[in-house]
Symmetry: C2
Subunit: 421 residues, 2 copies
């Protein structure tokens, strides 16, 4: 069989467009679990590899559900689709994170993935007793040791440690249970974990760092990387660079899958797609546009600047948005954009690969990226829910299937199997 | 309608009897979520108020699932039954606990309960960078402030904060969102929480402390207390004492429900019940019995003492098992029990109210406790699963329903409604 794409759906409460919640079709009051359940079941019918939930340990935008509880409820509502959730290494304990993901992995029969992030904003810090967020280098050093502890704990139990033998002293073979005894700069964790392995062995590790430090961490530890790449050329550079770093770690380049985000507005005709996008763009509240842009350039308050004037000179941000800040500043200068034009440019895909068009147009672009060394697949970002996801699942996925680029049925039952890891 | 019992099912991987996993009917290898799902659905068909999961952040006994992920998966598999899980205040952050329980509460449409505990054993401490467990007084001071932060965060959103209005700047009314700004001895947490209220307003707070400090904390903060009481007289003392402390706090005594644990082995005849109990007792491995007894008297190693000799003089334990240690020492001395006889005595109910008999016998005892000021209901502890739970649900519950002591259908949809809170 020829190489196939991995495709995830990056789920957000109302969709990824900053005005998604104002779209006539979004449902503001229903139980968000029940709303997500229908969408994730649709993604499963389309044989997607996984759904993916971001996270913030503070209120940013609309309130939503916490990923581990939500994904566990979704696990009970689906059979095959992978379930990737975000948990920060900055304000959690590794025993707790290892355990909750192992538990999700076991109860879902091997479909869990952990998106390892560091926390870089002040609102999050303030919920955990800190005056300001942790410095970049310190966050990454902690993240690396955190990953070491979590994966060490996931190795507590050999796959055959549980025995169907009621004559002994314990319901498992103690020789197949391993104590971690970790002592490092940030953590001392004895172990073992009190959750056994799932059918996929251990949760899949996902990351999205794009700084130098972030890429090195990903090359050393990640199995999937989710990334924001606006153009084919930049995506190819990133792909080549990260796969090289993976090889430098002595790992096979295929052991890490690179999935750029894809913000796609899909119509049955180009005019219908354009009209759908224009409808969302027209719903942008200037304050919301400014707030989004301000967050993405390093939590800079733009409210004092004229909307139709240029982006001011910005101090270089010290937080995790540095590469995003550079990207947007270059974009504004290169195309001479006003503040309003710049936030309109990012209101949908936030700097991710963006396509507006028919299924053929979207599939052509995806195929080009996939075949020209820019991507192993994509993390689809729906403009507004549920319509934007339905369009992608019912129009683009069948087109990719016709081209032999995407599965028409799940071959296995675990996330690791879907991803070919 | 006359006063009715609240009844929960305290679920454990294989059952509460120390030899439960060795029972011929227990399932050692299946996915534990799927095993629990069948049992919890049966409890829901019998209209129980809730299922209850204990927790340990270390391996103690058989490995199992983590409560919040498990309960979320069970929420998606049931419609009405309450879902109570344990989370320690000793090794967690209040923002995280508040958020995960709020999320479970929202996705389950108002069925969550948080069993607030402190962690008192060295194995748990060693998974969180500590040489030994935190001292009793310090644990309780932290627990009280932790509760204050969690419930404060649960009040972040007014019930009507979400609005179905797409014309504004935000999908909620910012005047109905409250920032906590907590600064105390243990925590500084700004808030607000990023999860909105469920239909029951906020999760139910459950506790099980029995020390003086534990009772004071419960009187100030708990809505349900789960307690180990071996006899009617002791249960009456505890009930009277705790309800008095609740009144001293200016709370209505009905605002706290007291549910003693009930370990019941049920048969269609007394002989059948006796035989079922004897079958389990015969399966006790001496090492497992000794280990259980050692844990319950304050983590004291009894392996050097003759099984058929007396319990040695014990140093008074400094950890959370002090009241259990006193109870067991008094029992051994009062009845002149050997070590083996003592562990056999606790191998099932671990010091909880224990009844072996027909549905009539069990219901008579429950009715007596309920009507004579010892209990507002019970937390049923199944000897071995699934049989022990099935017996209780299909034999005892109908008997209680015939007596008008327990509902025959859910009147409401939330845990708070089931409990009459």
């Amino acid at each position: 069989m020829s190489r196939q794409m991995s495709i995830g759906a990056f789920m957000m409460r109302h969709g990824h467009h900053v005005a998604a919640w104002r779209h006539p079709d979004t449902d503001l009051l229903s139980n968000p679990f029940k709303v997500f359940r229908e969408q994730v079941r649709a993604a499963e019918r389309a044989c997607l590899d996984a759904v993916f939930f971001a996270d913030s340990v503070a209120l940013t935008g609309a309130p939503s559900l916490e990923p581990l509880t939500l994904l566990s409820a979704l696990a009970a509502s689906t059979e095959k689709i992978g379930l990737i959730g975000t948990a920060t290494t900055t304000y959690n304990e590794p025993y707790t994170v290892a355990r909750q993901f192992a538990s999700l992995d076991l109860l879902s029969d091997g479909r869990a993935g952990w998106n390892l992030v560091t926390s870089d904003n002040a609102a999050e810090a303030a919920n955990f007793g800190r005056e300001q967020h942790v410095a970049h280098a310190d966050r990454y050093a902690r993240a690396r040791e955190f990953h070491q502890v979590v994966t060490g704990l996931w190795n507590s139990w050999d796959p055959d440690a549980l025995v169907d033998d009621k004559s002994g002293e314990l319901p498992y073979d103690p020789a197949k249970l391993h104590t971690l005894n970790h002592r490092g700069d940030y953590f001392a964790v004895k172990g073992p974990l009190n959750v056994v392995r799932s059918p996929q062995g251990r949760p899949v590790v996902v990351q999205a760092g794009s700084s130098e430090t972030g890429r090195d961490l990903a090359a050393a530890t990640a199995e999937v990387v989710f990334t924001a790449q606006p153009t084919l050329a930049k995506a190819q550079d990133f792909y080549r660079d990260l796969k090289r770093r993976v090889a430098d770690q002595g790992r096979s380049p295929e052991s890490l899958k690179i999935l750029p985000g894809l913000f796609a507005v899909v119509g049955r005709t180009q005019a219908e797609a354009d009209e759908k996008f224009a409808q969302l763009q027209a719903l942008i509240e200037p304050k919301a546009g400014l707030a989004l842009l301000g967050r993405m350039i390093g939590n800079f308050d733009l409210s004092g600047y004229p909307l139709d004037g240029p982006l001011p000179e910005l101090p270089e941000t010290q937080d995790g948005q540095r590469s995003r800040q550079q990207l947007l500043t270059a974009l504004a200068q290169g195309e001479n954009l006003t503040i309003r034009q710049l936030y309109e440019r990012i209101a949908g895909g936030r700097g991710h690969f963006t396509v507006v068009g028919t299924a053929q147009v979207v599939a052509d672009q995806m195929q080009q990226w996939f075949e020209q060394g820019a991507a192993d697949g994509f993390n689809f970002m729906s403009p507004a829910l549920p319509g934007g996801l339905d369009d992608f699942l019912t129009l683009v996925i069948p087109e990719l299937q016709r081209r032999g680029l995407f599965r028409t049925a799940y071959a296995g039952s675990t996330l690791r199997s879907h991803l070919g890891l």
